[in-house]
């Protein structure tokens, strides 16, 4: 923790666009000390990745130029060295890891060879010693059986192991600086926690400096020493972690911190359970949605001649009741069957066995009637806001079509109803004439919600609908959902992998693991006293924005954080 290793001054990048040059990175200056982890935070499009790539001259387009600036790395200015020298810096002194390990590892090259390649190039070692060094690195990044796994290909590993392998590749040349660009965004929380712990371990062991690019302040709070906040190409604020988190100066930073779902304020969701809310388990209220021993299986593999098809159980015996007006969160890692469950409920997937009944109509027995009812009374909100809207139609056309096809309102009233829907989701009325391409992710997601509302639904299923959005936008969409469920007596089934968000929004939580429900109950109960080991692990893996609650090492049940809510005297369903 001594001297300054990397020092960037007045870095300005511009792109030569059609309307003259545009500034992408505006006069950025920062220092990186030895053995330090610097967190670079900002929304997508803020220029944080571009900034880091420009350090090693890996610019995504020929039209981007470095206008001014100096990048001092141990007495050399990386901005002025030749391209040949830069080759030695890349990998040798500054290593990089990326968000998606699958696309950054060579799929037809053995994992070990990919690590050994860098060692042979940068350290000029022979094949034998390079292999030994690579095995050593594999062990360091947490491969349990490095000698054997040296010869495995990337597709044989899970996402987390691939990310470890990529860290191994970056470490192979013994760099002084590691740039980690959203290294855990594509991973599940529990895996994310492991990778972050690994990064901190490596820093401690090797005295490496790390620049960690992320959009998640929780991650920064957990791992970094200092924080730099970027927005629109400018470095708004930088300083020691605790200072920034507890005493942010810039309004944007303040907003960013208050948007973080792990803020204790979020638990207020648990408090507003209204007294008249239908209480699960009481006989007089009929459940809106009843799922009984639902199985969804897919056939996979096999061929026409050989057979050998396997059956994968995506949903294995799920039973569930959702009362009208309830907000239920379904959490679980990728592959746990939450999306399949959602689609099965809406009749978009075939049901292998079991029953789904919506408002008293059984989907398995009366498929036609059940589907007709579902289509008119249930709607879905999707993960990728751009992919969920037809790019050729304006928002007005999209909404009007739903109204027209469903015959929910007379043709003369469609225009007024479209405007009403836009008002409901907080979009200006002029959006009726815009196409998704000219809108931001958050605006598209609002339009997607408006389309769901156009059905006048009793039930909305939101499938990871904020996962693709920036934190501040996430907070806005969550607030919108909260407001809609409160005012419109909607039943909301909210699917997410992010437990913090679910805790914020939902009264009841269902935890899924490998196609089964392992735990369900009131949010505050589950988060305070998880019964199942998997739930406990999930909760413990959420990176908290409070740096004093370290990742994984804190005790799983965190009763201290949650205010004890006044609970209705009833047992969990």
């Amino acid at each position: 923790m001594s001297g300054t290793l990397l020092s960037v001054r007045d870095l300005t990048l511009t792109v030569q666009g059609e309307g003259g040059p545009r500034t992408l990175i505006d006069n950025v200056a920062f220092d990186l000390r030895e053995g330090e982890i610097l967190g670079l935070v900002g929304e997508s499009g803020s220029g944080k990745s571009l900034l880091c790539r420009s350090l090693v001259r890996l610019l995504p387009s020929l039209l981007i130029r470095m206008e001014s600036g100096a990048i001092h790395l141990q007495g050399r200015d990386l901005a002025t060295i030749s391209d040949a020298e830069m080759l030695k810096v890349r990998g040798g002194e500054i290593g990089m890891i990326f968000q998606n390990p699958t696309s950054h590892l060579d799929p037809v090259m053995r994992i070990g060879d990919q690590i050994a390649e860098g060692i042979r190039y940068h350290q000029r070692l022979g094949a034998g010693p390079a292999r030994a060094a690579a095995v050593e690195i594999l062990a360091q990044v947490g491969f349990p059986d490095p000698k054997r796994q040296y010869d495995s290909y990337p597709h044989e590993f899970s996402g987390g192991m691939r990310q470890r392998a990529m860290i191994g590749v970056a470490l192979s040349c013994d760099p002084k600086i590691l740039i980690a660009d959203e290294p855990t965004t594509a991973l599940d929380v529990t895996i994310q926690a492991q990778i972050l712990t690994l990064l901190m371990d490596i820093r401690d062991k090797r005295g490496l400096s790390i620049i960690l690019i992320t959009h998640d302040l929780g991650i920064v709070a957990q791992t970094c020493d200092r924080i730099a906040v970027m927005r629109a190409g400018r470095l708004l604020e930088q300083g020691p972690k605790r200072q920034i988190l507890s005493n942010p100066k810039d309004p944007y930073t303040i907003n960013l911190i208050s948007s973080h779902p792990s803020m204790p304020e979020g638990t207020a969701a648990a408090m507003f359970v209204p007294a008249e809310a239908p209480v699960a388990g009481l006989p007089r209220v009929k459940p809106l949605l009843e799922i009984d021993d639902l199985h969804v299986r897919f056939r996979t593999g096999g061929s026409l001649f050989k057979g050998g098809a396997k059956t994968i159980s995506a949903v294995a015996g799920v039973s569930l009741q959702v009362m009208p007006g309830e907000t239920v969160g379904i959490v679980g890692e990728s592959g746990s069957g939450k999306s399949t469950l959602a689609r099965a409920i809406l009749g978009l997937n075939e049901i292998s066995s079991g029953h789904v009944s919506f408002d008293g109509v059984d989907l398995a027995q009366q498929r036609g009637a059940g589907l007709a009812k579902l289509r008119r009374e249930a709607a879905m909100v999707f993960q990728d806001p751009y992919n969920a809207l037809n790019p050729r139609l304006t928002i007005g056309q999209t909404l009007a079509e739903v109204l027209k096809v469903q015959g929910k309102c007379p043709p003369s009233a469609i225009r007024a109803r479209v405007e009403e829907l836009l008002d409901l989701v907080g979009l200006e009325r002029e959006f009726a004439t815009r196409k998704p391409r000219s809108m931001s992710g958050g605006q598209c997601q609002r339009a997607g919600i408006a389309r769901a509302l156009a059905v006048d639904p009793k039930l909305i299923i939101a499938d990871e609908c904020v996962a693709a959005l920036d934190v501040t936008i996430q907070a806005q969409i969550i607030a919108l959902f909260r407001q809609l469920t409160e005012t419109m007596n909607l039943t909301l089934l909210f699917i997410a992998h992010d437990l913090a968000i679910v805790r914020n929004l939902c009264e009841r939580v269902i935890v899924m693991y490998r196609g089964e429900i392992v735990e369900q109950g009131r949010s505050e109960e589950i988060f305070a006293r998880p019964q199942h080991a998997y739930t406990a692990a999930l909760i413990a893996a959420i990176p908290d924005i409070d740096p004093d609650r370290p990742l994984l090492s804190r005790p799983a049940p965190r009763c201290d954080l949650l205010p004890m809510p006044v609970l209705p005297a009833e047992t969990m369903p």
Partner: protein
């Protein structure tokens, strides 16, 4: 590189001509030919099939700008009248394959399964034969003439469109907005033709422009072989064929209709490029 994270830098392609110029030049060329074709009786200085033995094999001069052929017919007038037939070939020869192929591709891609398998095997069978051989055999069966050419084109040409559209449909039908449309209770026909097809079709429209060039050339080739347009009707392919035997003594007989084919093809391909940009095929 992960694209999501480098969003601030729009990757701008360097292009040969600005988009607007491509569109204007391409559309302009087509427009000139269209006007010539429509006003042929007015603008053509001579009767295209009138044979004047006194002016046989005249090189280009003020009286005959493009010269005359071995029958003393004015090449310029024949090129202008030929535009009528060649434009017709390009349009009809593309339109029917486009319509058939788009419908087949949409249905095959959307429904999948047996329907898809059946249509795609048919496509494979058609593709197994060399294009011209198949064309010529169909025309030979139906008898020479433009009508047979159009039928043969429709029977053979649709396969490329079907494959293009089908591939797009396969991708689009699992997109979220398709799933959303299903979950909103839209009918299959509506999803197929209102939601998916408009998003799938851009590539085919662009391809149809370069296909027009190919059709034009195969029309010329078929006429050259004596199976398409029959003499003395003026058609550029036929004219090139007729001029072939005089290429050393009367180069202008084959060169001017040949240049017309090239120019019209150039116009189509420029327009195709411009349309591709406009419809966002490259995005």
């Amino acid at each position: 590189m992960s694209v999501e994270t480098i969003s601030p830098a729009p990757i701008v392609r360097r292009r040969l001509l600005p988009r607007r110029l491509t569109l204007v030049v391409g559309a302009g060329i087509l427009l000139v030919f269209l006007v010539l074709a429509l006003t042929a009786p007015l603008v053509a200085p001579y009767d295209p099939i009138y044979q004047n033995a006194e002016v046989r094999l005249q090189p280009p001069s003020l009286a005959h700008l493009f010269g005359t052929d071995n029958f003393g017919r004015d090449i310029l007038s024949r090129v202008i009248w030929g535009a009528r037939i060649d434009l017709q070939i390009a349009v009809i020869g593309v339109l029917f394959p486009f319509l058939i192929g788009t419908t087949v591709g949409t249905v095959a891609g959307f429904f999948g399964g047996v329907v898809d398998a059946a249509f795609m095997r048919l496509v494979d069978i058609i593709l197994a034969f060399p294009f011209l051989v198949l064309m010529l055999s169909i025309i030979a069966i139906l008898g020479p003439g433009l009508g047979s050419f159009y039928i043969a084109m429709a029977l053979v040409g649709w396969v490329s469109y079907a494959r293009l559209i089908r591939a797009q449909m396969l991708v689009l039908k699992s997109s979220d907005y398709a799933v959303a449309a299903v979950s909103l209770g839209f009918s299959r026909t509506r999803i197929m033709f209102r939601h998916l097809l408009p998003n799938a079709i851009a590539g085919s429209i662009v391809f149809s422009m370069s296909d027009a060039t190919l059709v034009l050339l195969s029309g010329a080739a078929v006429s050259y072989l004596g199976l398409g347009v029959q003499p003395p009707l003026a058609e550029w392919g036929v004219m090139v064929a007729e001029g072939q035997s005089f290429i050393t003594t009367g180069w202008w007989i084959a060169v001017f209709p040949g240049l017309s084919i090239v120019t019209l093809a150039f116009g189509f391909s420029l327009l195709g490029d411009a349309l591709g940009e406009l419809l966002g095929v490259h995005e």
